[in-house]
């Protein structure tokens, strides 16, 4: 599988898996507004995943559609960041996970607009506008919960402490990243990191939350090495499609 295809699948799978996670909140969020908010973000992510998977399928040239790629691949073929497959936990934990990835996608899509790959640039320009809304939402809630009651502060701080180690993968450059940077397709992760970091620090400060220390990290979702949580998520997401292959409404 060529580097560009793998790179596009990393972006696509990250949006798809996160969208599926957020979808688990539908009907269960703490208030109707948050139910709608999380569902809307999930929908944007699903839309982004569809555009990216369609592109990946065309690039692969084996006639696989967005659905074939989403529903017919197994865990080790998924190349999303391990961060986004982590369970929702409480609302605070979901929001912390969202902030960490929103700030990353914001910087990434901003830079990807100038990609040498025109198709990817178009998709990024579209996704960027939506991601700005997502970031405003997640950052707003992290501030409210962090600088809220003792209980809400304790919960989001502990979610942050737990999820922080997964952010290492976002900036761990490997051969595929380097090849994409060299081809002018993707921005250098070393350049994105300080911008992401400054953005996160600003929110954490306002939220009176402490930035955790960097910790050792051993999962590389973007190479197909996942935590145990992804398998369960895929089992639920793919069940119908696999039980009734090719079924349509």
């Amino acid at each position: 599988m060529n580097a560009r295809l793998r790179y596009v699948l990393r972006l696509a799978d990250t949006s798809l898996v996160l969208g599926q996670r957020l979808g688990e909140w539908v009907g269960h969020a703490p208030a109707l507004e948050e139910d709608l908010g999380l569902a809307n973000i999930a929908l944007d992510l699903l839309g982004q995943a569809r555009m990216l998977l369609t592109y990946a399928g065309e690039m692969e040239g084996r006639g696989r559609s967005e659905d074939d790629l989403a529903m017919g691949r197994d865990q080790s073929d998924f190349l999303n960041f391990a961060l986004v497959e982590q369970p929702n936990g409480d609302f605070g934990r979901t929001i912390v996970r969202q902030l960490l990835i929103d700030a990353f996608q914001l910087e990434l899509y901003e830079a990807l607009q100038r990609s040498s790959d025109a198709r990817l640039g178009e998709i990024a320009a579209k996704a960027l506008k939506e991601t700005r809304y997502h970031f405003r939402y997640s950052a707003g809630w992290v501030v409210r919960l962090g600088d809220g009651t003792e209980e809400s502060h304790r919960r989001v701080q502990s979610a942050l402490d737990e999820l922080w180690r997964f952010t290492r993968e976002l900036f761990a450059e490997d051969d595929i990243d380097r090849e994409m940077v060299a081809a002018g397709v993707a921005p250098s992760l070393a350049e994105l990191q300080p911008r992401w970091s400054a953005r996160i620090d600003e929110v954490l400060q306002e939220a009176t939350l402490a930035r955790p220390a960097d910790a050792p990290y051993s999962w590389f979702g973007k190479r197909g090495e996942h935590t145990e949580h992804l398998g369960y998520l895929l089992a639920e997401m793919q069940f119908l499609h696999r039980a009734y292959p090719g079924a349509t409404w």
Binding site: E33, G47, K126
Partner: protein, 156 residues
């Protein structure tokens, strides 16, 4: 041809046609001898996109263009600035506040808060309930004068 398209309504906001919404990008005869209609999605995940496609196909085939080709256009991306003036008036009459300003305005660039006038009583004393409303393109607001809750068509 545009008149045929003007009769295709947005399934979520039936007072708006797809032309008012600004999602029709081109209508032209191409070298392949077929009519090409270019449409662009509002939000990437907007569930209405596919319904709109089939409504357009239906309208075109009823008008005698069964072999028209629908092109998906991504760039430049749709923004609320594509909404026509007529579309904004129709929204207001329907009880949905139209986008308050252009996405490229300087005020917005500097993060000044946007005032969204109430579509019922015109009061400027309104408050945002949620960034996300009943569809991806709308936010949820409330008027503090007439107390009417209403949808606001977001600037994006």
């Amino acid at each position: 041809m545009w008149r045929v398209l003007e009769e295709v309504q947005d399934p979520e906001i039936p007072v708006l046609s797809i032309v008012d919404l600004g999602i029709v990008r081109h209508v032209e005869w191409r070298d392949d001898g077929r009519l090409h209609v270019g449409i662009t999605p509002t939000y990437s995940g907007c569930p209405a996109t596919e319904v709109i496609r089939s409504l357009i196909e239906h309208a075109l085939s009823r008008a005698g263009f069964a072999d028209a080709v629908l092109d998906n256009v991504l760039s430049p991306p749709w923004t609320s600035d594509w909404l026509t003036e007529e579309g904004k008036q129709k929204l207001r009459a329907f009880g949905i506040a139209p986008p308050a300003e252009s996405v490229s305005s300087v005020r917005r660039l500097f993060g000044a808060p946007t005032v969204v006038p109430c579509p019922k009583c015109g009061s400027r004393a309104t408050e945002r309930v949620s960034e996300f409303g009943s569809t991806p393109c709308k936010a949820h607001y409330r008027c503090t004068v007439c107390l009417e809750p209403f949808d606001y068509f977001k600037c994006i």
